[in-house]
Amino acid sequence: MLIRLEPRAEASRAMVYQSPLIAVVLTLIAGMIMFRIMGTDPLQAVHAFFIEPISTLDGVAELLVKATPLILIGVGLSLGFQANIWNIGAEGQLTLGAIFGGVVALAFFDVESVFLLPAMLIAGIIGGMLWAAVPAFLKARYNTNEILTSLMLVYVSFLLLSFLITGPLRDPDGFNFPESRLFHDSAVLPIILEGTRLHIGFLVALLFAVLAWLMIVKHIIGFQIKVIGMAPAAASFAGFKEKKLIWLTLLISGGAAGLAGAIEVSGPIGQVIPVVSPGYGFTAIIVAFLGRLNPVGVILAGILMALTYLGGDSAQITMNLPNAVTGVFQGMLLFFLLASDVLIRYRIRLGALRVREVTPRQEGVT
């Protein structure tokens, strides 16, 4: 073969950080080809998609509003992914957080208290944790695959929200529209940048990322998470409690997703509606990988992915491109990232194999 992969003696640290950049460049190139095929001017489309949305202060604020749930959920998920615990159901945990937060807001509809917002956010965290506790319990107790159980609960959560919003939570004066009442001011998150929609939730997300980073770097739990992901046998010899980590990572990621849901309804949305998220819980999976499962990286990746949402809206308005372009961009980015990651453990060699390089050793890699 003319092009082949040669295992590196040691995983390349540099490639870990270069690979996301390679992936972004490749995605841009592929995106321009896609725009060309769709019959639009690629440069103009890329401008509408990636530059225009953030050319105003309002746009930048909107970018951070959209990045908030992505960072919260992405940081939470990255903890579990490091331990090979795959919570794929963050979208469902977000939905439950929105329901719980929304129920508190509507239950105390006439109450004006500074405690209302904290109560809503805590309720959201509890909702997300409860929803994540199901796959955690089933995995810890019965060794049931958490990917499938957490994902099934996403669909259940959508149906639950749909049931509540067409019944108990529906606005009594809303002409039967499937929407709740608009929250009162004391149930809406304060704005931190006057004249925009940027709310305090963004700071909460940043704080959560810092706390998670401290836990990963400084705390024994963070060490255990990393060991169990890289060498499960070593972890069990060292006496790390695998079940405890299953519970911990799922509850943290579920709680973070629930918090994101409560923040969405009390921040940008301001009421409970049938669809509270444009797939933040799934996009956060890409955010976690793109951010290298590192909380600081997740902040940057979250902001970048938020741009794809804004870009989709902007391209739809200015160039009449379908909004679905967003999903395609996100999927392509993850593809290119996973492909570039091969360079972390292998290097590309051109030319035929020389005999003395042949080793009987085989690299089984997972």
Binding site: L138, M152, L159, S162, F289, V325, G327, G364
Partner: protein, 307 residues
């Protein structure tokens, strides 16, 4: 009453067929040692691929082929990344689903609201007019028959043929299979492509026969349910076939709830297939030793031969 039972049975067949295709395809993939979590993505792309061709050409055969081909193309991306670039199979499968949902929405943008007449049904004089069995057995469309044939064919292929043995060998012990001269990557690629085409057919059935329309996200988690069915069936095609019909039966409860005299909100009834999937997974995974015996030993592990 008889009419009602026939109607229920017909809808069970309709609800089960997409699951049969996707699960049987994924069994071959996993038997080869590859875990492709992108079934949902391949199904949804198959659905829009088939529907787009059906609406533009009006040719059912072409539409079915387009569905299979769409799933296959997506599977090729997955195969290339995991088998040749050795990417993580779980992450790549998720990427395939995320990409598939976005890509299908983009492709389907121009097809929202269009209609298609549905696949032609078999019509044999006399036989198809028989009471009860006429419609059920002799009056289905080609994909329903193909789903049955595929279950039997895959059972035969995996158990009785040389290439079936090669697929299983690669899935059980890729080092040993490699050392006796099998090309692990090529055999796995073949299995992945087959799985993609089957998932594409499952999607095609959804948009051509189940609800002959294009709706974004119309697979609604069926790809994931198919993945659960594979575990439920202990990687045996005939068990996956019956498992799919069991799930099809649960899915249609909400359609006929009023006929059964149930008064439960439709959303609660719609949760049943998803909740049933969880229950079934718990029941299966409780028996850890049996699961470990039936799962392919190299499932989800990458293979790279240095040389």
């Amino acid at each position: 009453m008889i009419d009602f039972v026939v109607l229920v049975l017909l809808t069970i067949i309709t609800a089960s067929t997409p699951l049969v295709f996707a699960a049987i395809g994924e069994i071959v993939v996993e038997k080869a040692g590859v875990l492709n979590l992108g079934v949902e993505g391949m199904m949804i792309v198959g659905a829009i691929g088939a529907f787009a061709v059906a609406v533009t050409t009006g040719d059912a055969t072409l539409a079915i082929l387009a569905g299979a081909l769409s799933g296959l193309v997506l599977a090729f991306i997955f195969g290339f990344l995991t088998l040749y670039l050795l990417s993580n199979q779980v992450a790549t499968g998720l990427a395939l689903t995320l990409f598939g949902i976005g890509f299908s929405a983009l492709l389907g943008n121009g097809f929202v609201g269009q209609t298609y007449g549905g696949l032609p049904h078999l019509d044999i004089p006399i036989l198809s007019d028989l009471p009860i069995v006429g419609q059920l057995i002799f009056g289905q469309d080609i994909l329903v028959y193909l789903s049955v044939v595929s279950a039997i064919g895959v059972t035969w292929f995996l158990g009785r043929t040389r290439w079936g043995l090669a697929v299983r060998a690669v899935g059980e012990n890729h080092d040993a299979a490699h050392s006796i001269g099998f090309s692990v990557a090529l055999i796995r690629m073949g299995a992945v492509l087959f799985g993609g085409a089957m998932a594409g057919l499952g999607g095609a059935y959804l948009s051509l026969a189940h609800t002959p329309l294009w709706v974004e996200n119309m697979t609604a988690g069926r790809g994931w349910i198919a993945l659960a069915l594979v575990v439920f069936a202990s990687w045996k095609p005939w068990r996956a076939f019956f498992g799919a019909y069991l799930f099809g039966g649960i899915t249609i409860i909400q359609l006929h709830a009023q006929g059964f005299g149930l008064d439960v909100p439709s959303q609660i009834l719609s949760m049943l297939p998803y909740l049933a999937t969880i229950v079934v997974l718990v029941l299966i995974s409780r028996d850890d030793s049996r699961l470990r015996l039936s799962a392919p030993a190299c499932l989800g592990r990458s293979f790279h031969a240095s040389g």
